[in-house]
Subunit: 191 residues, 2 copies
DNA sequence: CCAATTCTGGACTGATCATTCCAGTAGGAG
DNA sequence: CTCCTACTGGAATGATCAGTCCAGAATTGG
């Protein structure tokens, strides 16, 4: 049996959350190891022991961030009473939070599709989110709130594009009121 | 009279265009002075003499890029025969070009609204584009192609948000077909 | 106690970065 | 021809960066 000795003192996920806070605001290239170490409140060596290197930390941060957003989206999608309310709730949550930069959008902007490991970190969440939205769109079609002739896949893609657009608009300085209006327009396309 | 001596040999705007090519793909932090000098095909000293420093070059690049996009948008907006065709042409041009990263969107992502000089470089174009779109939306309303009860300002903002969304979607890997569908959905919201 | 393990923080390394300096070339104006 | 200016390219400079090393402190199990 391995001798256990001292256990980990800092919470890995907590440290990761703090790293997310740095990366989402400054991007990968704009975040220095010193900024990260200070924000994460761990020693420099602990960072490298735990996450390998800065890129590994970034990929993990994007993965964790995406998973968190996925969960938040799914929770909102479940709201009712009607399916369209769930779709609206998803959009409106993003509008309400969009004063903080989105690490997903930022990582797409900064790296496009250049890095397979980064693509994977994003796509893991994407692969779950897209069908969840599609299902909700179908429900809304059955309830008569979304036009029956729309392709649910395409409609879901459109909504996701508008999530990204919302976030860029917010980072560019759009007001909360403007964001609210943008969500209404996005839903309007589905009538 | 000032003695003229040797005139400038490289074309400032041409060099700027080449710098735009680097910045749009790699962002500000991801572009090194050496990458820039090589792409711009000028000496290192010429870069600093002409643009001051890397940040100055970046701000000028964003300004020039924005002005170029503005002109391209305005040209498409003029297409006909109906105003809605102009709006569609604007969206479809962006969809067609979106395989190249957008320096405007990238600069918003990377810096938000942190730098006044950068904000100004973007807003100069924005201040012209928004009214141009609004005017075209009004025309389309008069022609019955856009719902009369929509606020033209809000509708124009929605279209611009969808331009940004389109670009993020493309950088994230969306196909030309998907982008085409997204433009149709954006216009659908205005019916 | 001891041995094993995980921290911390500071010092270090080598690379890369933006920026400046400089020596030299080239071309237009007088 | 002779200044003056515009360029080039390479060699500095000093800062910052990612990543490593190390010595010591802390905390567990045996």
């Amino acid at each position: 049996m391995a001798v256990m000795a001292r256990h980990k003192e800092f919470d890995r996920d907590e440290a990761l959350d703090r790293a997310i806070g740095v990366f989402r605001e400054h991007g990968f290239e704009g975040s220095s190891s010193t900024m990260l170490v200070e924000a994460m409140k761990i020693g420099r060596q602990s960072l490298y022991d735990t996450f390998g290197d800065k890129w590994g930390l970034y990929v993990e941060a994007v993965g964790r961030y995406s998973a968190g957003e996925l969960e938040a989206h799914r929770e909102r999608l479940r709201s009712g009473p009607r399916a369209i309310d769930g779709l609206r709730a998803m959009l409106e949550r993003v509008a309400a939070q969009a004063h903080l930069a989105c690490l997903g959008v930022n990582s797409v902007c900064e790296f496009g599709r250049r890095h397979d490991d980064l693509n994977k970190a994003r796509e893991a969440a994407e692969a779950v989110l897209q069908p969840a939205i599609v299902a909700r769109v179908r429900d809304a079609q059955a309830e008569g709130d979304v036009a029956a002739d729309l392709d649910p896949q395409a409609a879901a893609g459109f909504l996701q594009t508008n999530l990204a657009g919302l976030r860029i608009a917010a980072r560019g300085g759009a007001s909360a009121d403007q964001l609210k209006i943008l969500t209404a327009y996005a839903l309007r396309a589905l009538r």
